[in-house]
């Protein structure tokens, strides 16, 4: 089964955290490669071609951001960032530099695993094309553009479908606000977050049981949005 196991490169200078991550990921049947410096990380990434990178932004020899930028120059491999809560700016910079998602330290095991799986799935999805979503009582078929809740059919506008599609493509992962606007409204409207906010609000009215406490269409404040489905833990 070894070839079916996903390889995760853990880039973290703190040995105890590296150890916890290794135990956790291996228990979930990932193969773990470790790196404690930026230099080491690049060597390991080139030689092992991992399926996913889990990277801490504070590294002894270089900035985690630099690692992400250099890696993105040649590889589309999913990258998940580990960041502290007090370092908002770094988090945004990392996402802008090409990271796919982030996990705030201290992380909980289920959260970390969910993010890792979502990031891996995004890589696979482009070929897999599963287009049916289940959000609580609501079932969404993105191919046929149909939505059905407990009270019957739900009508979504074409714009709303495009937003949901974009989020569903990154199911479980964060989608930056600018990226979402760029894909749905076009690059010339990048600074217009108002239409997006209205659209998300309407989507929540239609899809969420309690729109003021959304369970599926989540806001990542200051960053963007994340769609969660019931399929994952």
């Amino acid at each position: 089964m070894t070839e079916a196991m996903h390889q995760v490169l853990v880039i973290e200078d703190e040995p105890s955290i590296r150890k916890v991550l290794k135990v956790l990921l291996e228990a979930e049947r990932f193969r773990v490669i470790e790196a404690d410096t930026a230099l080491r990380a690049e060597i390991e990434a080139r030689s092992h071609k991992p399926d996913l990178l889990l990277i801490d932004l504070g590294l002894p020899d270089s900035d985690g951001l630099t690692v992400i930028r250099r890696l993105r120059a040649w590889s589309p491999v999913p990258i998940v960032v580990l960041s502290a809560r007090t370092m908002e700016d770094q988090k945004i910079a990392a996402l802008d530099a090409g990271a796919d998602d982030y996990v705030t330290k201290p992380f909980s095991a289920p959260e970390l695993l969910a993010r890792v799986r979502a990031a891996l799935r995004r890589n696979v999805r482009s070929t897999e094309q599963t287009s049916a979503l289940k959000l609580g009582d609501v079932r969404l078929d993105l191919d046929r553009r149909e939505a059905r809740g407990s009270a019957g059919e739900i009508h979504l506008t074409p714009l709303e479908y495009r937003v949901i599609e974009c989020l569903a493509r990154h199911l479980g992962s964060i989608v930056m606000q600018r990226q979402l606007i760029g894909e749905v409204w076009g690059p010339e409207r990048l600074d217009d977050s108002r239409s997006l906010r209205v659209c998300i609000k309407n989507l929540r009215e239609k899809l969420e049981r309690d729109p003021q406490k959304p369970r599926y269409l989540l806001t990542e404040t200051g960053l963007g949005y994340r769609l969660r489905s019931d399929e994952e833990p």
Binding site: R85, T86, E88, K105, P106, S108, S193, R194, R197, K201, P211, Q212, K213, P214, L218, T219, E220, T221, G222
Partner: protein, 901 residues
């Protein structure tokens, strides 16, 4: 001490003596090579001594040598270090001058500076710091540099007259005797006149700028002999004084000894009095004080008299006297009072100037002192030259004209007019009234003139009236012949009445005017003191002070204060008048360092446009007041100058007080910060230790007994480790956040955000912990998006919800609601919990306050402090109230407009 009580030393004097000794210890020593004339070899001897000192390893540097171009002198100067001279442009030519700043920077042990009496080029560029070289030397001595210099006897101030009389050459460059007397060493360079003349003929004597004939007149043998005698005598006096000072009994006698008071007036005898005082003080080896009393006559003085008075006081200071200006109704009263407080033993006054009946009517100061002297001697100095008397009288007459309104010519016109009016009236009355009644009309006219017109015009009225009375009324009419001698009495009475009334009126007016001026000064000072006393903060005090000074002295002003390192700075924030931009910080720095005035009209840089006055006492000036008067007289007149000093003193006190208040406040803050740190440490150590104990316990149990524990217990232990770790993590984040807020490091990343997103994100963060606490969200549908830093506001909701999770029992409800309120959204977070502890709920927002006693709940009481910091950073306010019924209620606002929009 067996000394009787009367001779006990004055404590002030003792203190001054001790201070002088102390000052001397750190001061450089002044050594003067003293000669009777140019050419005796002072510079040569000085250089010889310098070479000898250099050979024995001393740090001797030449600061300045007169460029005489004498080969032997120049040879001697070779091999000694020369300081660079300063090129000064003066009237189109460049001269080499002594470079004081270079000397202060080099700071040698001993510095040679030729020609102590030299005057610096005050009009030169760059302008010298002091007008005289001896003042440069004073500064060097104060800086601890030993100075060697040369002086010729004819330059000594007190000998100036004498040498003029002897040689017929007036020396313009003079040196105050004080400098000479206080020199540590005097070395007399003596050369017999014949040898000197021989050297002169051999061309070995450099003649400065004097014209050749003057030189020949000067270098006559009898002149040289006289000068030599004067020089020898002057040095002998010094040697005797030094030996007296060395004997302790004499020293005590000096401290307890004579104190001479020289009272000077505005007349021409003042200078003579001062010089006489100097001679007497030297002879008696006594302290001496020159006193000037400002009486009512002060404001009547002409400019020339005022200037003379300043010059006299300067002269006195330069001769070593202390000078004092007193206020008083009469000179005698003020002097008597002062004599008693200072326990003077002798008082010197000028001889009475009034003679005959005038002296009897208004006794002079000398006479009054003689009558009232108790316990001191009065010495009367006769005027040196005749003619003094006349001058003062004419000055008096001129003065009479200055205090009336209108020009003198107008008033004399009025005087004639009054006479004409009287005459017309008497002509009408003549047929019906007796002569004595007609005389009354004329008398009335004289009275009116006396009241209104001043002395001269009223005297004119008197004369005209008497003449008219004689001409028109006294038979035989229309002639000046007088048939009856009794009318002479009428004339006399009329003239006397006119003069007496005019004089009295003038005096009353003058008194009112002086009192008014004094009153205004007092009022101005009082107004400033009162405003300063209620002003807080050094910056505001400086502004208030400048405003008052500007009003009273009609000038532009600025207060320059030192920064932490003691360097003066322009006030920040306020744009000073462009003219004061020129206020020279270097000059101001000098003023604050030396505690003495500089600039306009003072001893230092007198040509500067602005005057710099130190604020505070001499030992420690707290700042400098720079004033740029629109009319220099407003500041330089003695009484104004005195007032400016008083102002400066008051401002200094206020600044000192503000400074002390700031220091006290800073130390209070430091104490508070310290106690805060202690609370923080105590709080954190408790809140960290508890979870650490749980984690260590649970983890070790798992490690040791993991194999044997049931699955349920294992996951329970692991869960408790996770929970405690999260609590600790939150705590550390909170502390970090608060520190970032306090240090001002938080930069808001504002953006438009729908409030429901922010509330939702907050709820999502706390989802696990709020499982037992249903939170109902009620946002009004018309809410506009808020313009906030999303991360911080989510944290704000998180902290408030976290409190609900911590402090309210499971199962109780909570509500988040929001309504629009003008340009803000008003948010309410309410719960049904136990509410607040007794006391003021707003206290909870202070750091390390918590709803319940320490123990059960972790949190260190930082959550609400952070909430308040976040709300305030967005320009809002957060309040805690008890909820109607039960529970707590937090209310805050978030902006819906961009700041500044």
């Amino acid at each position: 001490m067996s000394a009787p009580a009367e001779t006990r030393p004055d404590p002030d004097q003792l203190l001054a003596h001790v201070q002088a000794e102390e000052a001397r210890a750190t001061r450089g020593r002044l050594r003067i090579f003293f000669g009777s004339s140019a050419g005796v070899g002072k510079t040569y001897s000085m250089l010889e001594a310098a070479r000898a000192a250099k050979a024995s390893g001393a740090d001797v540097v030449i600061g300045y040598l007169e460029p005489h171009g004498r080969a032997e002198t120049e040879r001697l100067a070779e091999g000694l270090e020369h300081l660079p001279t300063l090129s000064v442009a003066y009237r189109g030519i460049v001269r080499q001058e002594f470079n004081l700043d270079a000397a202060l920077a080099r700071r040698p042990a001993t510095l040679l500076v030729d020609e102590l009496a030299h005057s610096n080029l005050t009009g030169g560029d760059p302008a010298p710091r002091h007008p005289k070289r001896w003042q440069d030397v004073e500064e060097l001595l104060a800086a601890g540099v030993n100075v060697w210099t040369t002086v010729n006897v004819q330059h000594l101030e007190s000998l100036n007259d004498l040498i003029y009389q002897t040689t017929g050459v007036r020396q313009r460059e003079t040196l105050p005797d004080k400098v000479f007397d206080e020199a540590d060493d005097i070395e007399l360079i003596d050369l017999p006149p014949d040898d000197l003349i021989a050297r002169l003929h051999a061309g070995k004597v450099y003649i400065a700028d004097e014209v050749a004939t003057a030189v020949e007149r000067f270098f006559r043998k009898q002149n040289l002999m006289a000068l030599r005698e004067i020089a020898l005598r002057r040095v002998a006096e010094r040697v005797e004084a030094a030996s007296r000072a060395l004997s302790p009994e004499r020293a005590r006698a000096r401290i307890a000894g004579d104190r001479i008071l020289v009272a000077v007036g505005p007349d021409a005898q003042a200078e003579q009095l001062v010089r006489a005082g100097k001679r007497m003080a030297d002879a008696l080896d006594a302290q001496w004080t020159v006193v000037y009393v400002e009486t009512l006559r002060l404001l009547r003085l002409s400019d020339a008299d005022r200037n003379r008075r300043i010059a006299v006081l300067r002269l006195a200071e330069s001769l070593g006297a202390e000078t004092v200006t007193l206020d008083g109704p009469s000179a005698a009263t003020a002097l008597l009072e002062y004599v008693q407080t200072r326990r003077a033993t002798r008082v010197m006054v000028g001889a009475p100037k009034r003679r005959g009946w005038r002296a009897w009517l208004r006794p002079s100061t000398a006479t009054q002192l003689l009558h009232q002297a108790r316990g001191f001697d009065v010495m009367i100095v006769a005027p040196a030259e005749p003619g003094t008397q006349r001058r003062t009288d004419s000055a008096d007459a001129a003065r009479g004209a200055t205090y009336q309104t209108g020009t003198p010519r107008d008033r004399y016109g009025w005087a004639v007019g009054v006479s004409v009016a009287c005459t017309l009236l008497t002509l009408v009355m003549y047929p019906h009234f007796e002569l004595s009644n007609l005389a009354m009309v004329y008398l009335l006219g004289v009275t009116v003139a006396g009241l209104r017109l001043g002395r001269g015009p009223s005297a004119l009225t008197a004369v005209l009236n008497v003449a008219s009375f004689d001409f028109f009324c006294v038979p035989p009419r229309f002639t000046f012949a007088v048939s009856d001698a009794q009318y002479i009495v009428t004339f006399g009475a009329m003239l006397t009445i006119a003069l007496v009334i005019a004089t009295l009126t003038a005096n009353v007016r003058q008194q009112t005017r002086v009192a008014g001026a004094r009153e205004r000064r007092t009022a101005a000072l009082y107004a400033m003191s009162r405003e300063l006393s209620v002003t807080r903060g050094i910056g505001s005090i400086a502004l208030v002070a400048v405003r008052h000074v500007a009003e009273v002295f009609q000038c532009k002003g600025v207060v320059l204060l030192p920064d932490a390192s003691g360097k003066l700075q322009y006030p920040r924030g306020e744009a000073p008048e462009s003219a004061l931009r020129r206020a020279d910080l270097a000059v101001a720095q000098w003023v604050v360092d030396h505690g003495r005035r500089a600039g306009l009209g003072s001893d230092t840089l007198p040509a500067a446009p602005a005057l710099y006055v130190p604020l505070g006492d001499e030992r420690r000036a707290v700042g400098v007041l720079a004033v740029l008067p629109t009319n220099p007289r407003r500041v330089l007149l003695p009484e104004q100058s005195h007032l400016l000093d008083t102002f400066a003193g008051q401002i200094g006190l206020a600044l000192e007080r503000a400074h002390l208040a700031e220091v006290a406040e800073a130390s209070t803050l430091a104490v508070e910060r310290e106690s805060l740190r202690n609370t923080l440490l105590a709080s954190i150590s408790h809140d960290l230790r508890t979870p650490l104990a749980v984690m260590a316990g649970a983890a070790s149990t798992l490690a040791e007994r993991g194999a044997t524990l049931p699955e349920g217990s294992k996951s329970e232990l692991a869960r408790s480790i996770e929970v405690k770790a999260r609590e600790m993590s939150d705590l550390v984040s909170n502390v970090l956040d608060l520190m970032r807020f306090q240090s001002g490091q938080v930069r808001l990343r504002r953006d438009w955000q729908p409030l429901e997103d922010l509330v939702g994100a907050g709820l999502e963060q706390l989802r696990e912990r709020l499982r037992e606490h249903p939170v109902e969200v009620r946002l009004s549908p018309d809410l506009p998006p808020v313009h906030v830093d999303a991360g911080l506001v989510v944290q704000l909701f998180g902290n408030l919800l976290d409190n609900i999770a911590k402090y309210t029992p499971a199962g109780t409800r909570a509500w988040i609601s929001a309504t629009r309120d003008g340009d803000t959204v008003r948010v309410l977070v309410e719960d049904e919990g136990p509410g607040f502890p007794p006391g003021e709920p707003s206290k909870l927002f202070e750091k390390f306050q918590r709803g319940s006693e320490e123990g059960a709940v972790v949190g260190a009481g930082l959550g609400l402090a952070i909430c308040r910091a976040i709300v305030r950073a967005h320009g809002g306010e957060i309040q805690a109230r008890r909820r109607a019924g039960r529970g707590a209620r937090f209310e805050f606002t978030l902006p819906t407009k961009e700041p500044g929009a």
